[in-house]
Symmetry: C2
Subunit: 527 residues, 2 copies
């Protein structure tokens, strides 16, 4: 059994605090030293990706101490406990099994009387068979017409991850003749969201997937009724258009109001559910089950790398360690995620949830306040767009923001034009390479307004092309990074008690059981 | 002439630093005291909006000192210098005239030999006449068919603002029978962006607006050629489909390759250009010039409020002062913008540029390093979605993030369903009211995991409905807030030298003129 200790009680962390911690990127990334670092500071990932950390403020001495920290914090042992079925989510007393949806890293995990790996696999098989019938025209609408669109109704983890992955693979799938259906998403309780999506689809040829683990998420049930209302008004048979993704014990399971139900369970948190039926149903319908299987293969291969003891061979663990070094030794409060791929436009929003909801905690696993900073704020937009927006602050602002770049050698559609001697894809690559060096090395200028101090750290994940495997490897990398950081901070990354108070107070407003400021704000809103 | 001094040299700021600065929201926002604050701490805005700051960590004493600061920093005088045509953008030696695109607050401003207010008005008139001809079918494609779609090709300020406003008003316009054309946007140099947009439209019935002040923005010219290539391959007459928004001196002006050209100038920065031809052309085509005129009216009315001396009557100035108090006295590094309106989904991305590119600076207007923090990181997503995502960290994380909520009494389409006794719009309002109180007041719990410390500050802009006027007022509020904060920090909010180094290095990569780390990264990307 691993022992769970606060970060600041670990000897290797205390030693790190006492070290010089002054690697100057303006020096080490200059000239041939920079080229040597780029060649050396890299780890292969799955899906044709590699993780590069030459432009991080680390050197061999610091890396060696971070490896000590990984060992002392027993990161590998804790991960093994997790995938072997320990109760890692101590707050809610639950196992944490999302990795099992894409592979089995350890022993069989039996819970609720079943082998959970087999359970998740069976759900995927059920989804694959259902999707194949929809695509072949065996399952149709009431008029015998094929379904052309799938609409996911869910919020938080039931929305952000599947939406980000759909957008990540939509153009790749279309370019490769693998796009089967359009997918749309309804998430917000704002009625304008549902109205806009419903106006944009032919409801008679749409399948709607209602995603709620508990079957009681208010936003989702409200939007479900919005959709049913629209189907009824169009004179359609509601039960021929509705699917459920839920837990076996929810009121949505075994309910004749749904054409089919696919199951997840309490061992998979919403923000880690993209590889379960939550992502599986919508993505298998949109792209076919084979594409979703390739995405899971990428995740599984990347998960396997996360079991490596040596952080220099384990990109997720290394990324996690450097992140903690930046947060707790160098004192940086924010991280920016900057994919140089338009297809990853909503990937930062998904990782924003995955990261901030997991590690935005002030108490440790035992409920004791911690004396150090935990999860940073994470934000991001695709490059090159961000370059023409908030990069000004990243380059010349008063705070240093560590950056995570992502880029690919090839575009997804491989359609391109050559302007001024280069393709757009080459220009895209030139920009990300240039930014890495600009942030690290800066540039002295007599005009202080044009001066760049540099020494602003970044890492870089480089891939061949954003394929389903690469997309899966990318997501797994960040999921596992977040997990390792949670282990280091000694927090429970798998509950989210911080979202409860707002829910309780919102119910009071709806019940008109308010006083003081709550009543005053409700009055202002005409409630 | 106002005198430009660093924030930390101002006596009222030094006095603020010495004050107690310990307003506890858990106390002042509780019970009847909270209700009284909500009633008292509010300022009317234009467009049916009002700004509420009851849940900010201020009291009458601090507000009075902030008013002293406003006076000592000569905020009103500086704004008057700006709108009367002083060279406020000292770095680039330019006037700053974006407010003139929607109204004239001071004396006529003559530059380049013309009255600039008349110049901008003339451009809007030209756009309005052009748009009317497109809508009436007087201007058509080569087959005599009407245009159904307008595609904006631009990046940064030519993209984010117009896109955010288009999304903000699209459903409102459709619900009110005012939507004339679909609008799409191509921004990223990533070829997959242009390919995806071109696949989603009928190019034969699309107008393309190329937006580049200089006429030399590489991303935009590249995407323009992408589009021309697609038009040529479809056998269409390119010049019948292309419009230009540019400056009169650019190579795109007076160019027979465009059906029409509309002009902006160097006195309007990209991130402040939504109210110029940059936003005017695409929005007037999409919704008709009358809707765009209503948007400008909302901006003009809100600009007028920003001329008020008394910050308690000037919402933008008050918001700016409280923001500086949070950044430089309380030490908060990040701000979150949380609109409870799906239509404002990209409004945070636009304000992220407007704010971070304007005030993410480390030197003052005279090029001297400043000894205090300037612009914070700004991020945000619409509620209720964010509640199911990163709110965990906002509630229970180790850093305090000030929040800016936005909400409306009515939805845009006014289509709604009643579930469990309330409409979706009422649920949306209940959630934002609940969050304000949850963040401010917290909740004691024996289980430390379920404990909420509270005392997390937020403000709230409440409106009747997100109409064009309200949207304009909202944008003007934030533009002017950013301007006042720039005055307080004594930075030049109107240049962006921090984006230059990356451009220079990217050109070197494209010319294969690289060495060291730049060559190594380029090699990895196959360049």
């Amino acid at each position: 059994m691993a022992s769970w200790k606060n970060l600041d009680t670990l000897q290797s962390f205390q030693e790190l605090q006492k070290m010089e911690n002054n690697v100057r990127l303006t020096e080490v990334m200059a000239g041939e030293s920079g080229a040597a670092r780029v060649a050396k500071y890299t780890v292969p990932m799955a899906g044709g990706l590699s993780y590069h950390y030459a432009a991080k403020k680390v050197d061999d001495t610091i890396l060696s101490k971070l490896a000590d920290l990984a060992k002392e914090a027993e990161l590998t042992e804790k991960f093994a406990e997790l995938y072997n079925g320990a109760v890692i989510n101590t707050g809610e007393k639950r196992l944490v099994l999302h990795q099992l949806t894409r592979g089995q890293l350890g022993n069989p995990v039996i819970a609720d009387g079943v082998d959970k790996f087999e359970f998740y696999k069976a759900q995927q098989k059920k989804i694959a068979e259902f999707a194949a019938k929809v695509h072949s025209g065996e399952i149709t609408n009431e008029k015998g017409e094929t379904f052309t669109t799938v609409v996911q109704i869910g919020i938080g983890g039931s929305d952000l991850g599947p939406r980000a992955i759909y957008l990540a693979l939509e153009n790749w799938a279309a370019a490769n003749g693998l796009k089967k259906m359009d997918a749309k998403f309804i998430s917000n309780v704002d009625p304008d969201d549902a109205v806009a999506v419903l106006n944009s689809v032919d409801v008679s040829r749409s399948l709607f997937i209602v995603v709620s683990k508990s079957g009681t998420t208010l936003e989702t049930l409200t939007n479900e009724l919005f959709v049913k209302d629209a189907l009824e008004k169009a004179g359609l048979d509601v039960s021929k258009h509705m699917l459920a993704v839920t837990s076996e014990t929810s009121p949505m399971a075994k309910n004749s109001g749904y054409l089919a139900a696919f199951f997840m369970d309490d061992y998979i948190g919403g923000r880690y559910s993209s590889s379960s039926a939550v992502g599986g149903a919508v993505l298998s319908l949109a792209f076919g089950p084979e594409v979703f299987a390739r995405f899971l293969d990428g995740m599984a291969a990347e998960d396997k790398l996360a079991t490596e003891q040596d952080p220099l061979k384990n990109p997720a663990m290394l990324d996690a360690l450097i992140g903690v070094y930046e947060r707790n030794i160098l004192g940086y409060a924010v991280t920016a995620l900057l994919p140089y791929s338009q297809a990853l436009s909503r990937f930062p929003a998904h990782l924003q949830q995955a990261d901030m909801e997991s590690n935005g905690k002030s108490v440790n696993r035992f409920g004791e306040p911690v004396n150090y900073k935990t999860g940073p704020v994470l934000f991001g937009e695709p490059g090159t767009n961000g370059q023409h927006s908030f990069y000004q602050l990243l380059h010349q602002g008063t705070d240093i923001i560590p950056l995570q770049f992502i880029g690919f050698k090839k575009s997804q559609t491989e359609k391109d034009v050559e302007v001024q001697g280069s393709t757009s894809q080459i220009k895209l690559g030139a920009n990300v390479a240039a930014q890495m060096v600009a942030f690290a090395c800066g540039k002295q200028d007599e005009n202080p307004n044009k001066n760049f101090d540099g020494d602003r750290p970044s890492s870089f994940i480089i891939g061949e092309q954003l394929t389903p495997e690469a997309c899966g490897a990318l997501l797994s990398h960040f999921e596992n990074k977040i997990m390792f950081q949670g282990f280091l901070w000694n927090v429970n990354s798998f509950d989210q008690e911080g979202v409860q108070l707002g829910k309780v107070l919102a119910k009071r407003v709806l019940a008109h059981d308010t006083d003081g400021a709550l009543k005053a704000f409700s009055d202002l809103l005409g409630i």
